[in-house]
């Protein structure tokens, strides 16, 4: 259950054509298909020991995925044959690879009763590849407390909390994956600093939030992906209801972010509050938002706004503590504040994005009492029509200190506080179990799933050549 809102305020992103989810026109990326209905055959006498070749076949060798996972040792590969598996699998073994032979027909189905398709708890180096998880009451794929994690060619569809979820984990890669129908975020990386993680080539749609990252950042890259038709698109955010605040140093480059006004999704309260925004930094700091294409939003294309947190659990760290590693900050004792906290978005660079048809403003910065020129956010080189306040690139250029006298900071004010009232009349959340979603898509498989070697997740994510990423073309 989510606590009643009254919180956020914050927001927006965009990308290249997706390798994982097909390229070409919009609808071709997620063609209609029926979900497989075959059941995993039972095995009379499942094995209890891992085979010598390090490959554990389900169901041929092990009746259930959990049995194979429990039998696996570091370095093993679990290969899952097509079928529907009504399991909630927990993984505690380091450095194993769990792979479906066919992304679209290896189906983990929670039947609206089981909690997580996969939950990796405290295990490092676990890679999950090439399968679908749907109808789980919590998450499709979930890593927590991991050093080194990877999700590749995954489909998360109609799950009750997150689609693909990495919490308190570092050294991650989420790629070539798809998430739809979660009331919180399709993709989430939270409570880590430095995260050392990459999200690339993913599609997130019809969720409360396309991406959410609370108190995460530090070498955290979100690139070449599509966030569309969620309540809100890409929403890095800060708050003391999780550890390791604030959210900082997330880099968002080369994404396509559009039409995140979807009124009929499941949605947590914060998603309703953020509705209608493309890339929305809600109390995030020191983020970089570059070369994204962002269009068709009721509020902002790229917005930097505060997050108002009532019942906060600790004071906001001073700027000189922002670089404190998460592991160190966890050891600090909290100081309960006397009242609500206002997490302002600060020191974020918004450059060279292409924006259009964002009805309140293409680019925007707002607060609820803080002088905007004191926040240090800058805007430069963007292709846009509207801004809040007006003439934002003149008021807040990058590369030089901001000044109160640069112009009129009040003209065209975002009036972000009015979003609280907007949320009261926004379309309410739809039950995640019954929400109208795009049909379960047939998506690209990983290459050579049957024969590709097992490569456990690395704690060092791939190097991304950010300079080589250009603004993606608009999906027509």
């Amino acid at each position: 259950m989510k606590r009643s809102l009254r919180a956020l305020i914050g927001v927006s992103v965009l990308g290249l054509s997706l390798v994982a989810c097909g390229s070409g026109d919009d609808e071709a990326e997620v063609p209609n298909t029926e979900a497989p209905t075959s059941e995993a055959p039972a095995t009379e006498a499942p094995s209890t020991e891992a085979p010598a070749d390090g490959v554990l076949n389900v169901p041929a060798d092990y009746a259930t995925i959990q049995a194979a996972v429990d039998a696996a040792v570091e370095g093993d590969l679990i290969l899952i044959a097509p079928g529907t598996y009504n399991e909630a699998v927990q993984v505690t073994t380091n450095n194993i690879v769990i792979r479906g032979l066919d992304r679209n027909t290896v189906i983990m189905d929670g039947n609206f009763e089981l909690d997580n398709g996969f939950r990796v708890v405290g295990a490092s180096g676990v890679a999950i590849e090439n399968m679908t998880a749907m109808n789980y009451t919590k998450n499709g794929f979930f890593w927590t407390g991991s050093t080194g994690y990877r999700g590749s060619y995954l489909t998360a569809w109609r799950n009750g909390d997150y689609g693909i979820y990495a919490f308190d984990s570092v050294g991650g890669l989420l790629e070539n994956s798809y998430a739809a129908g979660s009331p919180d975020a399709g993709f989430y990386i939270g409570q880590c600093y430095p995260c050392d993680a990459v999200i690339r080539n993913v599609v997130s749609e019809h969720n409360g939030l396309g991406y959410s990252g609370t108190n995460s950042g530090g070498n955290l890259l979100i690139v070449n992906s599509v966030f569309r038709r969620n309540r809100a698109g890409v929403v890095p955010n800060s708050g003391s209801y999780e550890l390791c605040y604030p959210e900082r140093k997330t880099t968002i480059v080369g994404n396509q972010v559009y039409s995140n006004n979807q009124p009929d999704t499941p949605a947590i309260d914060v998603a309703i509050l953020a509705m209608g925004n493309g890339i929305l930094s809600a109390g995030g700091v020191q983020n970089i938002i570059e070369r994204n294409r962002v269009w068709d939003h009721d509020k902002t294309g790229i917005g930097l706004v505060p997050f108002l947190e009532e019942d906060a659990n600790d004071a906001i760290p001073a700027k000189d503590a922002w670089d404190m590693p998460c592991a160190e900050q966890k050891q600090l004792m909290p100081t309960l504040p006397d009242g609500p906290l206002l997490w302002d978005s600060q020191d974020t660079e918004v450059r060279d994005n292409v924006l259009e048809d964002n009805r309140r403003a293409d680019i925007a910065v707002g607060s609820a009492g803080t002088n905007l020129w004191e926040l240090g956010n800058c805007f430069e080189g963007n292709t846009f029509t509207t801004s809040a306040p007006l003439d934002l690139e003149t008021l807040a250029p990058c590369g030089s200190p901001l000044s109160e006298t640069a112009g009129d900071w009040t003209a065209g004010d975002l009036m972000v506080i009015t979003w609280l009232a907007d949320a009261e009349t926004a379309p309410p959340s739809v039950d995640w179990k019954t929400a109208t979603l795009p049909d379960l898509p047939q998506l690209e498989n990983m290459p050579d799933a049957a024969t590709a070697p097992a490569v456990p997740a690395s704690a060092t994510p791939p190097t991304i050549d950010l300079a080589a990423i250009t603004v993606p073309d608009k999906i027509s």
Partner: protein, 166 residues
């Protein structure tokens, strides 16, 4: 500084009872008239007479608070003296639970609390620990109490904590 609120609801009854080391295995774990002071033999139910062994100490009047966030207990490792009340406050945005490491889930916890009045029988199920809820327990017996949230962790991994009672 705001004073942390302490919402001591019905769970406190279980907590008070747990300061007794009860030798009988099956009793009403949360009998409403259960005594909260250590003593010799007690009758805590009209129908069931049980014998208690004094292995724990009575509440000492001290109380500490552990924040339950998404998805962490803060502090996650705490040392207290026997008889101290620990108040867990769910200050996150999600449901959580608090289970002794030996317990696998909410249903098993409920079963444990129904059938076991020993110091190891404590905790709160997720249905009773939504955002804004509090749960309190007096740790009357020395020992190490490891616990976790079965939604967001496992024993010793993810969302977990330790209370060390001396």
């Amino acid at each position: 500084m705001r004073v942390m609120k302490r919402l001591l609801g019905s769970f406190t009854l279980c907590a008070r009872l747990s300061v007794l080391a009860v030798s009988a295995a099956v009793i009403g774990a949360c009998a409403p008239d259960a005594p909260d002071a250590a003593g010799g033999s007690k009758i805590i139910d009209d129908d069931v007479a049980i014998t208690t062994t004094i292995a724990t100490v009575a509440p000492n009047g001290e109380s500490i608070t552990i924040q339950v966030l998404d998805n962490s207990y803060r502090p996650s490792d705490y040392e207290i003296s026997a008889g101290t009340e620990v108040v867990f406050e769910n200050r996150g945005r999600n449901d959580h639970n608090i289970l002794p490491d030996s317990v696998k889930g909410d249903a098993e916890l409920s079963e444990l609390l129904r059938n076991d009045s020993s110091p190891s029988a404590w905790g709160v199920a997720s249905t009773d620990f939504v955002p804004g809820d509090s749960f309190s327990h007096v740790f009357g017996a020395p020992g190490v109490y490891a616990y976790y949230c079965s939604i967001h962790g496992a024993p010793g991994a993810g969302m977990y904590g330790i209370i060390r009672v001396s």
